[in-house]
C-alpha cells in the first residue's frame, strides 16, 4: 500500500519535474539519474534475478553509445530513432557472444570474462582511430529530432529519457513476472533443481544477458545524444561500479530497487559537491555507501517494504554451478 502511494507520487513527480525543477543543472542531474536507472535495471536483470555478476557492463553501455553516435554522424546520418534500436541490437549481440562464451561455467568465471571483455573493447575504442577517433572521441553527436523539432532542451530530453526508463522498467517487470522470469529466478535459487524440471540453464542465462546488454545499449545511446560527445571514457570501470552500487544499495532482485538506487547514487555525488570541498566528497560517498551496506544489507527497497531476505544472498554472489544436492 505504502509502496503504491510512493510509486504514484514518484510518477507524478517525474512527469512534472521540468515544472518544479527550476535549476537546469538539477534537471541535468535528473536526466543522468534516468539514464542510470536504465543501466541499473539492466544490470539488475542479470545480477538480481539470475545471480550472475557482470563487471563489464560499461562495455555494453559504451557499445550502445558508439553505435548510436557513429550511425547518426556523417557519412551515414541515420535518424536517432533507427540508431537507438541499432544500439540496442549491437549491445545485445555483444551480450549474446559473451553469454555464450562465459555462461557455461557461470559465477566467478563470468565475472572475469565480462571484465576482460570491457577491457578489450575499451582498448579497441582507443586504438581504432579510423572508426572511433581514438582518445579524442567523437564530438558533435546530433540531438534526436521529432519531425521539425530537435530535442535540444533539457526538458525535452528529460521526457525522452523518462519514456525510455519507463519502457525498460516495463520490460523488466513483464519478464520477471512471467514463465521466463521464474526460470531465471529458479536458476539463481537452485540450478540443479531448475534443470531437473526442464529449465535450460544456459539458454535462459544467455537470454538474460542479451536483454540486459541491449538495455544497457539503449542507455549508452541516450547518453551519447545527450552529452553530444562519445569518447573511450564511456568504458570506464567506474561506470560499472556505479551500476553495481546502485543495484546492491537499492535492492537487487527487486524492480524498484535499481530505480531508487540510481536516483540516490546519481544525486549523492552532486549533493556532496555542493556541500563540501572536493577532498571530502569521495570520502563522504564511501561513508554513505558503507553505512548503506552495513545497515541495509539487503538494499533500501527490500528493507522498506519488509520483504524477506532471499536465502541466496547469504551464500555470497559467487555460487558455483552445482549448488546443492546431487552427490551421494
Amino acid at each position: 500500500m505504502i509502496a503504491r502511494v510512493l510509486a504514484a507520487l514518484g510518477a507524478v513527480a517525474a512527469v512534472t519535474a521540468p515544472l518544479w525543477v527550476a535549476n537546469p543543472y538539477h534537471l541535468h542531474v535528473l536526466i543522468m539519474a534516468g539514464i542510470f536507472t536504465i543501466l541499473a535495471l539492466s544490470l539488475n536483470l542479470l545480477l538480481g534475478y539470475t545471480g550472475q555478476l557482470s563487471l563489464g557492463h560499461a562495455a555494453f553501455f559504451g557499445i550502445g553509445a558508439y553505435t548510436s553516435a557513429l550511425l547518426t554522424m556523417p557519412p551515414l546520418e541515420w535518424s536517432f530513432w533507427v540508431a537507438l534500436p541499432a544500439a540496442a541490437l549491437a549491445a545485445g549481440l555483444a551480450g549474446w557472444a559473451i553469454g555464450r562464451l562465459a555462461l557455461k561455467l557461470r559465477g566467478a568465471y563470468f565475472v572475469l570474462v565480462t571484465i576482460s571483455f570491457a577491457g578489450v573493447i575499451s582498448l579497441v575504442s582507443v586504438n581504432w582511430m579510423e572508426l572511433t577517433n581514438g582518445p579524442l572521441g567523437i564530438p558533435g553527436v546530433p540531438a534526436p529530432s521529432v519531425g521539425p523539432w530537435t530535442l535540444r532542451t533539457k526538458t525535452a530530453y528529460w521526457y525522452l529519457v523518462l519514456a525510455m526508463a519507463v519502457l525498460a522498467y516495463l520490460v523488466c517487470r513483464r519478464l520477471v513476472y512471467s514463465r521466463l522470469g521464474r526460470a531465471l529466478v529458479a536458476l539463481r535459487e537452485n540450478e540443479p533443481l531448475a534443470e531437473s524440471v526442464g529449465i535450460d540453464g544456459t539458454h535462459y542465462l544467455v537470454l538474460a544477458a542479451v536483454v540486459s546488454a541491449a538495455m544497457a545499449g539503449v542507455g549508452g545511446s541516450l547518453y551519447a545524444h545527450y552529452t553530444r560527445f562519445v569518447s573511450p571514457e564511456v568504458f570506464l570501470f567506474s561506470y560499472t561500479v556505479t551500476m553495481v552500487i546502485m543495484v546492491i544499495a537499492g535492492g537487487q532482485g527487486t524492480l524498484a530497487g535499481p530505480v531508487v538506487g540510481a536516483l540516490l547514487f546519481t544525486a549523492l555525488p552532486e549533493a556532496l559537491r555542493e556541500a563540501m570541498a572536493w577532498q571530502w566528497q569521495l570520502l563522504a560517498y564511501g561513508v554513505v555507501l558503507i553505512v548503506c551496506v552495513f545497515f541495509l544489507p539487503r538494499g533500501i527497497v527490500p528493507t522498506v517494504t519488509g520483504a524477506a531476505r532471499p536465502a541466496w544472498t547469504e551464500g555470497g554472489l559467487f555460487k558455483t554451478r552445482r549448488g546443492s544436492g546431487s552427490r551421494e
Binding site: S178, R179, A186, V197, G198, A311, G325, E328
Partner: protein, 254 residues
C-alpha cells in the same frame, strides 16, 4: 520402460558403478536399496544426466538418454528429486510449484513482453495447475509460505510437488522419506501410490526397509557398485547375499 545396461561410473580411480544392468517396468514402483556408498545416487545422477557415465546405455521409451543434459532428459518425461532437500528456498510454495510447471508453458520472449491474451491465459492456466498440484500433495494450506520456512518433512513434500508439476512419466525419488516422521512417511507412501496410479513409473532410492518392502513391486539391491539381487520384496528379504551385505555375515538370521 527404462532399460539400464552395463552402466559404469568412475570417479578418478574409484569405481562407483561397475557396469550395472536393470530395467524398470512401466507403471510400477521399483526400489533401489543397498548400503551407503553402494552407488544408488550415482545411478540416479547418471540416468538423469547429472554425471556422465564412462560406459553403458540408458534407454527410456526406446530413446537413449546418454549424453543428454538434465533439462533435455526432463523434457522426455524423466524427472528426479534430490537426496538432500532441494527446493527454491526464497520462493513461496506456490512459486516453487509454478516453476516446476515450466515445461507446461510455452510463452516466448516477445509474447511475454507484449503480454498477449494467450500469455495471460497461459499464466492463469499454470496458476490453476499449480494449485491442483498443491491440493494433490496436500500442501494447499502452505501455499504462500516461503519454502525454506517450512518444517523439514513439508519441504520434502514441496520437492515432490515440484517434481510432479513437471508431469513426469518416470519419477526418480532419492530417499524421499529421509528425515520424515512416522506419520509423514505414511502420507508419503499413500502419495507415491497415488502418483503411480496416475500412470507414472516410480523408481525410488530409500533406506527405510519397511517402506521399501511395503511399497515396491520390484526391489534392486546394489552393493559395491554391482547389482547383487533383483526381485519381489519377499525374495529379496530371503536372499542370502542381501542379508550378508546388510548384516556383514552369512550366518546372520534373515
Amino acid at each position: 520402460m527404462l532399460q539400464v545396461s552395463d552402466l559404469r561410473v568412475e570417479f578418478g580411480g574409484v569405481v562407483a558403478l561397475a557396469g550395472i544392468s536393470f530395467s524398470v517396468q512401466p507403471g510400477t514402483i521399483t526400489s533401489v536399496i543397498g548400503p551407503n556408498g553402494a552407488g544408488k545416487t550415482t545411478a540416479f545422477n547418471a540416468i538423469t544426466g547429472y554425471l556422465r557415465p564412462s560406459r553403458g546405455r540408458i534407454v527410456w521409451e526406446g530413446e537413449s538418454l546418454g549424453g543428454r543434459r538434465p533439462c533435455d532428459i526432463a523434457r522426455r518425461g524423466v524427472v528426479r528429486t534430490f537426496q538432500r532437500t532441494s527446493v527454491f528456498p526464497a520462493l513461496s510454495v506456490f512459486d516453487n510449484v509454478r516453476t516446476g510447471l515450466h515445461l507446461r508453458g510455452a510463452a516466448g520472449f516477445w509474447p511475454v513482453l507484449a503480454r498477449t491474451a494467450r500469455v495471460r491465459l497461459e499464466e492463469a492456466r499454470l496458476a490453476a495447475a499449480a494449485d491442483e498440484v498443491l491440493a494433490f500433495i496436500g500442501l494447499a494450506h502452505r501455499r504462500d509460505a516461503r519454502a525454506d520456512a517450512l518444517p523439514y518433512g513439508e519441504q520434502r513434500l514441496v520437492e515432490l510437488a515440484v517434481a510432479i508439476a513437471a508431469r513426469p512419466r518416470l519419477l526418480l525419488l532419492d530417499e524421499p522419506a529421509a528425515g520424515m516422521t512416522g506419520g509423514e512417511k505414511d502420507r508419503l507412501v499413500a502419495l507415491i501410490r497415488k502418483i503411480r496410479d496416475d500412470d507414472v513409473t516410480v523408481l525410488i532410492v530409500e533406506h527405510d526397509m519397511r517402506l521399501v518392502m511395503g511399497l515396491s513391486e520390484t526391489v534392486i539391491v546394489l552393493n559395491h557398485g554391482r547389482v547383487i539381487a533383483e526381485g519381489v520384496p519377499a525374495e529379496i528379504r530371503a536372499h542370502p547375499e542381501v542379508v550378508r551385505a546388510y548384516l556383514g555375515s552369512a550366518d546372520a538370521p534373515a
